[in-house]
Symmetry: C2
């Protein structure tokens, strides 16, 4: 019955978001020009999302038909695809729908809050923070609210309305995770291409060739650039974190079911635990959000303190509350799982701190990187790549320790459960660690998502010709956002790695279920026999060449994916460059400020490019694991998932940190160091920043989604791969 707290918390989060949104809408929007500019941005962003959603709708339709045929085929017996249940196609659909909705609401409020933030900054920095942070909270609570809503609906529907067993229910719910991840990948990739193409294109012609400042209204790509912040950094991030949040919860639910198969009481507790942690997390995030308030002083340090007060409060209290939740739901003898959760939380915090150290210009690495600009663009590029590659060390060690700790505590250390294999409950511990990391997403996302709003506000202030101090204030908000965002990134990357590992375990569990049903064994009572068949059939050892080849293929995927998305940004930016150059040449009076640029054309161009370019990388995530499965079977898929998780984790950190450090090295020089803005060092730093743009805002964050989507796709198509794959045919042929 505890479960019913979930829809309640979900509704509460959504109401909280609506209330915050209403508060923002009450604020004045500013001067006529601000209203006009904001209207243009809003229009562009809506047009983009509309087009993106119609493109993605086509993809979802195709998948729906494909999954439908598989379900139909299984039922009528003309196909053998072992689909989890007939609800799979619909679950897939709602996952995508809610993920898209999270992005949509986030973007809606962000495009209404940008001019209001700029306007509030005309009064004081503090007022600006309040509006921007409110917009961030709307996004944060929309994501967690919709996430818990989707989970509630499906859980209640499958379990109570359609009477599915717990195991089938949780397995089926992974399908809506797959829908959410697919949507998130499209949103992140498409939005990331849009925003960086507009940014790079605007900079290359505007700043470098025409010599006009950033956000100058004479630049034809300036509206597109501001639209990009909303569709990439807001809508993309919303869909992305919806996927992470839901993914961590459903994977731990699924692992609880298989770990505690033989202990029904514990099983229910294990399934409910991640949900209740999320519920408490929502409550604490709300309190934390309310705590973010300052006096009327405008000191930046105090603002940071105010933000940190909110996030620290939620993190510390959830760390304490989880202890009692585990005690209550799993019993004192299983208190080890609490330490699994705690190790996840700590790992997230540590990676966040380290991310800040590696990329903030307050610390040595980025300062040193800025120094390399003295010898030109080549050395700052080499330095940034080296910095990014070096920065994987600490996160790998932290995640490594967290994984082993979460597994050990879950798998027998203070949590010995008779009849439960240590390995299964240990893997559940790893999944719980990810849940711990993301439990207070409501508030961490709020501190993350207000940055792009402030960024946009700055653009509007510039374009509307507001006083210089307004821009200064929005810049202060923006840079504050960069600091708090580092922590958010730590949680996002760390949880992605842990959830991906949990999902690999969920994949092998799914294979075991299929074995059980193929051999007419009862999964809960005859588990040992199932395990025996599994071990005899599959050799998951690293020494098995099939696993190794899968590992190579998996390790390759993030590289290919990054290459595709970077090339996409390059091509799309090239198109913008040509268009902006054309407008400067053909529209007379544009440079003098007497004629207006054709902003809409640049927006349309970015939209079209992003839509076209996002298709191939996104399909890669669907096709690669299925194709590998059909060729190399289950062993190859497990290798692929492990390889993709390891390299994906590394590449995501490398790209995010290299990009972040280049960005901040440029800002450090712009702040007056090493010759300041306009000097040759600054020029070199701008090259670094431009290279870093697709690193940190397109390729890097998408990889986090990729590694989870690969596992979910593998789980959904597990039956198909098991029924048919080439390597088994070869083996059948030569092993008599």
């Amino acid at each position: 019955m505890l479960f019913f707290l979930v829809p309640v918390a979900s509704i509460a989060a959504l109401i909280f978001a609506i209330a915050k949104a209403a508060g923002i809408m009450k604020q004045p929007e500013g001067t006529d020009q601000m209203i006009k500019i904001a209207g243009n941005i809003r229009k562009g962003a809506s047009a983009y999302l509309k087009r993106q959603y119609s493109g993605v709708a086509l993809f979802f339709l195709v998948m729906l038909i494909l999954l439908g045929v598989m379900a139909y085929g299984d039922n009528l017996g003309f196909l053998q695809t072992g689909l989890i249940s007939d609800f799979v196609p619909f679950a897939f659909l709602t996952g995508g729908f809610f993920s898209g909705l999270s992005g949509f609401f986030g973007m809606k409020i962000a495009t209404h809050a940008n001019s209001r933030t700029a306007n509030a900054c005309r009064t004081s920095l503090n007022k600006g923070l309040k509006v921007a942070f409110s917009a961030g909270s709307v996004m944060g609570f929309t994501v967690v609210g919709l996430g818990l809503l989707d989970i509630s609906i499906w859980y209640l529907l499958l379990k109570y309305a359609f009477g599915l067993g717990l195991q089938e229910t949780t397995a089926c719910m992974i399908t809506f995770g797959m829908g959410a991840s697919s949507m998130a990948l499209f949103a992140r990739v498409g939005g990331g291409i849009f925003t960086k193409a507009a940014d790079v294109g605007a900079d290359l012609v505007g700043k470098v060739e025409a010599g006009i400042p950033e956000d100058d209204p004479r630049n034809p790509a300036v509206i597109a650039d501001n639209v990009g912040d909303n569709v990439g950094d807001v809508a993309g991030m919303g869909a992305d974190l919806y996927e992470s949040y839901v993914g961590s919860i459903i994977s731990s639910m699924a692992l609880a079911v298989s770990a505690f198969m033989s202990v029904p009481d514990l099983q229910m507790g294990g399934v409910v635990l991640p949900l209740i942690i999320a519920v408490v997390g929502v409550l604490l995030s709300m309190i934390g959000t309310v705590l973010v308030r300052t006096g009327e002083k405008t000191e930046q340090k105090q603002l940071l303190k105010a933000l940190r007060r909110g996030t620290n409060f939620s993190a510390i209290v959830i760390a304490i509350a989880a202890f009692f939740l585990v005690w209550f739901l799993l019993g004192w003898q299983n208190i080890g799982f609490y330490f699994s959760i705690l190790s996840g939380l700590l790992a997230g915090v540590l990676i966040g701190f380290y991310t800040e150290y590696a990329t903030s210009d307050s610390y040595k690495p980025t300062k040193k990187l800025a120094d390399t600009s003295k010898t030109g663009p080549a050395t700052i590029i080499i330095g940034g790549i080296a910095l990014g590659m070096n920065s994987v060390f600490v996160p790998v060690v932290v995640i490594g320790v967290a994984v082993l700790a979460a597994f050990t505590f879950g798998g027998g250390f203070f949590s010995a459960i008779p009849g439960v294999p240590a390995a299964s409950s240990g893997l559940y511990g790893i999944a719980l660690a990810a849940v711990g990391m993301l439990s207070t997403l409501g508030i961490t996302l709020a501190t993350d998502a207000y940055g792009p709003v402030a960024d946009n506000a700055g653009g509007i202030a510039e374009m509307a010709g507001l006083e210089a101090e307004v821009r200064e204030r929005t810049d202060a908000l923006d840079s504050l956002g960069n600091t708090t965002a580092a922590t958010g990134k730590g949680f996002a990357i760390g949880s992605a790695a842990l959830t991906a590992l949990a999902l690999i375990a969920a994949y092998t569990d799914r294979i075991k279920e299929l074995i059980a049903s193929a051999n007419n064994l009862d999964f809960s009572t005859q588990l040992e026999k199932v395990e025996e068949i599994f071990d005899k059939t599959f050799n998951l050892s690293v020494m098995n060449p099939t696993v190794l080849v899968g590992l190579f293929i998996g390790a390759m995927l993030p590289f290919i994916f990054a290459a595709f998305t970077m090339n996409s940004v390059g091509r799309a930016a090239q198109a913008i460059v040509v268009e902006v150059r054309r407008q400067f040449k053909e529209i007379t009076g544009l440079m003098e400020g007497t004629a207006e640029a054709d902003y809409a054309r640049c927006v349309t161009l970015c939209t079209k490019s992003a839509q076209k370019e996002m298709i191939i990388p996104s399909l890669l995530a669907i096709i690669a694991p299925v194709a590998t499965g059909l060729l190399l079977g289950v062993e190859g898929v497990v290798g692929l998932l492990a390889g993709a998780t390891a390299t994906g984790f590394l590449l995501a950190i490398f790209m995010a940190n290299a990009g972040g450090a280049w960005d901040n090295a440029k800002k450090y020089i712009e702040a007056g160091n090493l010759g300041g803005k306009g000097g040759s060092n600054h020029k070199a730093a701008v090259v670094g920043d431009t290279v870093g743009d697709p690193f940190k805002d397109t390729s890097g964050p998408s990889i986090n989604i990729l590694i989870k989507l690969l596992s979910m796709v593998s789980i959904v198509f597990a039956g198909l791969v098991l029924a048919f794959n080439a390597i088994d045919l070869v083996k059948d042929f030569y092993i008599k």
Copy 2:
């Protein structure tokens, strides 16, 4: 008795090399100024190697003492390190010694051949090719000659003089592989840092700031730059390929022993097979080398044809000869192993072709990359990184297919051996594939190593103020070398991946041996029992978190290693920049050509920097697997090795191809395309080339050595890790 062909072939190769060297020395050295310049280069290179070898000697001394203590401790019983035998310290030493010697001889002849090549180019292109290619052959045959010599000496010594068993003999021989790899890593990293620091430093001040052409004698770093070609591209490459050659042979010998444990006849055949393939390869390489001759026409295409005639002849004939060798040594029923060898050979050829496609300016990818220079340095950097990341796809697929084919053919497909587990003989098949790839190293290395000689000849021609057509001819030779080198790179990278996989298998075999001796079991007759204990003790499944964490750590190592080496190049180049700037400022008359630069200071500076900077990355390869083993035990080490092999393979290809493509995009523009030399596109391309320098000549090729050295270190320290590691202590504590 067939074994005695090995020392015979070894001596023949060395005599061939000496004869070729004598032929080169007979050629005239050119004008007085050429003699003087060449003398300076030679002096600088010798000084560097002397310093490098004394630095490395210290490392070898420390390792010798460490291994000595371990051997002594095992014998007296006060330590339990399970060292393979008392010969380990000495074997380690000779491996390093011969590897260093290969580099030394290669460099000696290269620094005598450079001015002679330049002088020959004054007559004709064809004559120049002959001298340069002879120098390359000296290096090629020295490497294979010394490699087979070292193998012969140790094999005969251990087996016949000291009466060790076959198993102990081959295991002990892996130690000299470790010595060779350590030396190679030092040589590649140190030489790579030297050459790129000098190159980047000379370019940044000379070309960019002072505006003087490349190889201009007024540039104080110009001699250091030319010394760099010799110590990096020649001495480094020699040590590197010595390591690859020896590594592939000894790993397949070791795997033959364990695979055919129960069939003594086959066991001997399996051990001898890789050696005899190498013997035939030496013979064919000699014939191939002799075939490289042209008429007096100077058409570049015909020269390429002449070179290809030599390599193609050797490759095709070895592909045929191997069939009969397998038939003769392993019998008709095991002819499957021939197809293992063939799949390795084919994979090497395919990766070589693809490398050329991806990086040569005759094809689309590099042409497109050159196009991205139009929008400045940032876009060509993004484009090159994307090109490099994209270029991993084909090699991964090719190696994946080769691994599965070699394993399948070796493990039962046309090679079913009663009593031999398919997995063991399949892994031997993978090792043979690497041997196949490297069998004709004598000639492939010759076509690879003559490039730097031609490069140096060009530098001398420039500095000595020879006629413009001489420089044109040396440039033609140099660019020809780039084309043939692509094939060489394919073999080097492909064989590294296959050998690394074979060495992982050798590692688990070593653990099994240790288990056998600890349980007083006879490894050859009670293999099944040993396997049983192994399977019960270790869970090598990818689903085991210890393996997974090891995988993450291993995957991380190439990233960290690349970061270290790139930073080293950056720091060392910075020091050169400061020194060159100082000389331009302080030496009056330098720019006017009336005073001479202090070349020696730049050489000394590069030497010191390279020596200092090579220590940490090289130690990483020794310390990381031992430390991981002491913490995570055998399971962690296996994960580490698999992860490092997969990511290392990917990063090595990515970095080599990105660097190669940037280099050729720059050359493409210099050839008059896209605005030609000096234009803004060219400037952007120079930035790309500078970033690519440490990619392709320092970090990339060193990673190939790294992944093998990690396995060899693990094998040598296997006993220590088995006797003591933290994770077993934890397990003992909580698993009652």
